[in-house]
């Protein structure tokens, strides 16, 4: 067993998990509190990446670009909530899916028109572009930046949700919306803020990943499916659940890609193992979801007050 490889892969899994958390936490709140299925949550991920990339391309430093783009994402989120999402809360889930799927197409087309089809490479400052040596481990610096950024946001969110007045309202909304409304919580304002925070975090995830994979059209559509899996595994409306499920799924995906072929080689031929391993590791997270749905349909950490 190569321990430094295992450690590297654990870090890679953690990084993927934290990115998923940034997406899934907003998604789970919007789904849990507003009962609104937002397929276009992944579009915010893409828009965030393009915002950040455009500012860097105009000579901004990466840090400044991220900060400015975060503000931009909050505005975009609030705008979409006010103009489009608000009209849909009363409609049923199928209408949510149709409308937000339409939004995906619109966002993709807008990006195509504004930034072209070719995608955007986002250069990193030299200080982030190198490697860090930790004992026998050599890790890309930027991966550590993603991990710390993700953990920082998770910490802020946890304080916000568990300690602040806004957090109290959010938790109340997730547990029992009608009761929260009856107690005088301004549900319109709450929804607007939650939606905008969700969009901002999704955009932040996009900004973090873009220097690695480049910004491209439809980049959010690939990851949003996994983010929904996280929401379901973690328990709809639960930030804590989203956090644990994200890390779990990040690790399963990464370790599956790293070790599954070695495992399969033990009892099947090399060629089959190599073809089956990527397919199977792509399925693992869905298998996990199926198991969770079968044995604990309310998710691993459902918000208080929700019963199966």
């Amino acid at each position: 067993m190569d321990w430094s490889l295992l450690l590297t892969q654990l870090m890679n899994g953690l990084q993927l998990g934290l990115l998923l958390f940034l997406l899934a936490s907003g998604l789970t709140l919007i789904f849990g509190i507003m009962d609104f299925i937002n397929l276009s949550h992944g579009s915010f991920y893409m828009i965030g990446a393009y915002f950040c990339g455009s500012i860097v391309a105009r000579g901004g430093s990466f840090l400044v670009a991220v900060l400015v783009a975060l503000v931009g994402m909050f505005i975009v989120g609030a705008l979409i909530e006010r103009v489009i999402a608000r009209r849909l809360y009363r409609a049923d889930h199928l209408d949510h899916v149709l409308a937000t799927f339409g939004l995906i197409l619109i966002f993709d087309a807008i990006v195509h028109i504004v930034w072209g089809p070719s995608g955007m490479a986002i250069p990193l400052p030299a200080i982030l572009d190198g490697q860090v040596t930790l004992g026998s481990l050599v890790l890309p610096t930027y991966r550590l930046v993603i991990i710390s950024g993700g953990l920082l946001v998770a910490a802020i969110l946890s304080v916000l949700v568990t300690r602040s007045r806004l957090g109290m309202m959010i938790r109340a909304g997730a547990s029992n919306r009608t009761m929260a409304e009856a107690l005088g919580v301004n549900i319109h304002k709450l929804f607007l803020i939650v939606f905008a925070i969700g969009a901002t975090m999704s955009g932040f995830a996009g900004m973090l990943i873009a220097p690695i994979t480049e910004a491209s059209i439809g980049m959010g559509n690939d990851i949003i499916i996994i983010a929904f899996v996280v929401v379901i595994v973690g328990g709809i409306g639960s930030i804590k659940g989203a956090f644990h499920a994200s890390i779990l799924i990040g690790l399963i995906d990464t370790l599956g890609r790293s070790y599954l072929d070695d495992l399969l080689k033990i009892f099947m031929s090399l060629d089959y193992a190599e073809t089956a391993a990527p397919a199977l590791s792509a399925m693992l997270v869905y298998i996990l979801m199926a198991v969770v749905l079968a044995f604990r349909p309310q998710g691993l950490f459902p918000p208080a007050g929700i019963r199966a």
Partner: protein, 398 residues
């Protein structure tokens, strides 16, 4: 139903649908071009479209005295859509030639629609092993290569360089597997590890786990095939992981004229000097290529990619065949014979078709350099294979 109603409801519609195709058949050559225009891979399609339009300009939009009607379709990077679009081109537009096709899985899915209806199918990129071997067809031609050939040249070069151990990463689809088998067939050292990563519209773009494995394997070199946007993502992560000094990179179809300007904008100087094999390069010194590359540079201000070069050749090949039969598009045997003769000024210079209608051609080693104008491009360093024929030709019963 009365006779009058029968006339209106049944016969007239048949007449109307049948007429247009019959009427226009005589005065234009219709070419259907299937490529990817949406999704991030749309940049490849855009380059192919530019090159096809340039070819049509160069021939004055005429073939054998007939006007050329070009119908471009977007496959959306999906085999099922590619097949639908091919069906549409064949049935609705009644084209004479179907060409384009970036992706092997799209071509494999669309193949039957084109060939079963007696159309000529000309691949301007994809070269899956099956279509060069058991599935070869008298009406299928290629202006690119068979998938295995380019990595075979790379495997031969690596062996020549005395590289003894290699780690391989390719996407998990038809072409990825051909690239794998191509390299392994000529590389004589040991392949210490292989990864086939998820591919398609939701392809895997984060290679952290695989790169960590590759590094831990202690291989002397890393061979990859990541076309389109995955190429950019891969090169970035390779650099960020600091592997340039530890694990030299050898690639095919990963670094091209489409992503080099982006690498340059992002200051990714690690890609300079990186080596790959290919049948063509913008600096290849043939009359056809000089004409194509300089016109493309003038018109678009950047170098064409190999996708573009092959698309330009596809139109020029069709042009030579339609000229040879004097515009008589019903003379299928004449067209086929003329296509097989490849009697046109190809960007790669003169070449022959093998029994399976795949080009028998040279493969070069090329390197990423900065040109006189400060643009990053590729330059030919050496010839690895001369007049190379793909290994599947023997399986083709033709």
């Amino acid at each position: 139903m009365s006779m009058k109603h029968y006339m209106i409801r049944v016969i007239l519609p048949i007449l109307f649908t049948a007429l247009p195709a019959g009427l226009v058949a005589a005065d234009s050559v219709r070419i259907g071009f299937v490529t990817t225009l949406t999704t991030p891979a749309g940049v490849i399609g855009a380059d192919m479209k530019n090159s096809v339009e340039l070819a049509l300009e160069h021939i004055g939009n005429k073939m054998g005295g007939l006007d050329v009607e070009l119908i471009i379709e977007d496959d959306g990077f999906k085999p099922d859509i590619g097949k639908q679009k091919t069906d549409k081109l064949v049935k609705q537009d009644d084209v004479h030639f179907v060409t384009g096709f970036i992706w092997s899985h799209v071509l494999l899915a669309s193949r039957q629609s084109a060939l079963d209806s007696g159309k000529f199918l000309i691949s301007a990129n994809a070269g899956p092993s099956k279509m060069a071997g058991v599935l070869c067809h008298e009406n299928f031609f290629s202006t690119s290569w068979q998938n295995d050939q380019t990595p075979m040249a790379m495997g031969a070069y690596l062996t020549q360089q005395g590289i003894e151990s290699l780690y391989i990463m390719v996407p998990n689809y038809a072409a990825g597997k051909d690239m794998l088998s191509g390299t392994e067939s000529t590389f004589q050292g040991e392949v210490v590890g292989r990864d086939l990563t998820k591919w398609g519209a939701d392809a895997q773009l984060d290679f952290s786990a695989e790169l960590a494995k590759a590094k831990a394997s202690g291989a002397e070199g890393l061979f990859v095939f990541y076309p389109g946007k995955a190429g950019g993502a891969f090169i970035r992560q390779y650099q960020q992981a600091g592997l340039q000094d530890v694990l030299p990179l050898y690639s095919v179809f990963t670094v091209d004229s489409i992503n080099l300007p982006r690498f340059q904008d992002a200051g990714m100087s690690g890609v300079l000097g990186s080596k790959m094999t290919m049948f063509w390069s913008p600096d290849l010194d043939t009359p056809g290529n000089r004409r194509f590359v300089s016109a493309y540079l003038d018109k678009h201000g950047k170098y064409p990619s190999f996708y573009g070069a092959q698309s330009y050749d596809a139109i020029m090949l069709i042009h030579s065949a339609v000229e040879a039969v004097g515009g008589n598009l019903d003379d299928k045997d004449g067209i086929r014979a003329a296509l097989k003769a490849a009697n046109f000024e190809s960007v790669r210079g003169p070449y022959l078709y093998g029994n399976n209608h795949m080009p028998i051609q040279n493969f070069y080693l090329r390197e990423v350099v900065e040109d006189e104008a400060g643009r990053w491009t590729t330059r030919i360093v050496d010839t690895v294979f001369e007049n190379h024929q793909d290994p599947y030709a023997a399986e083709c019963q033709m």
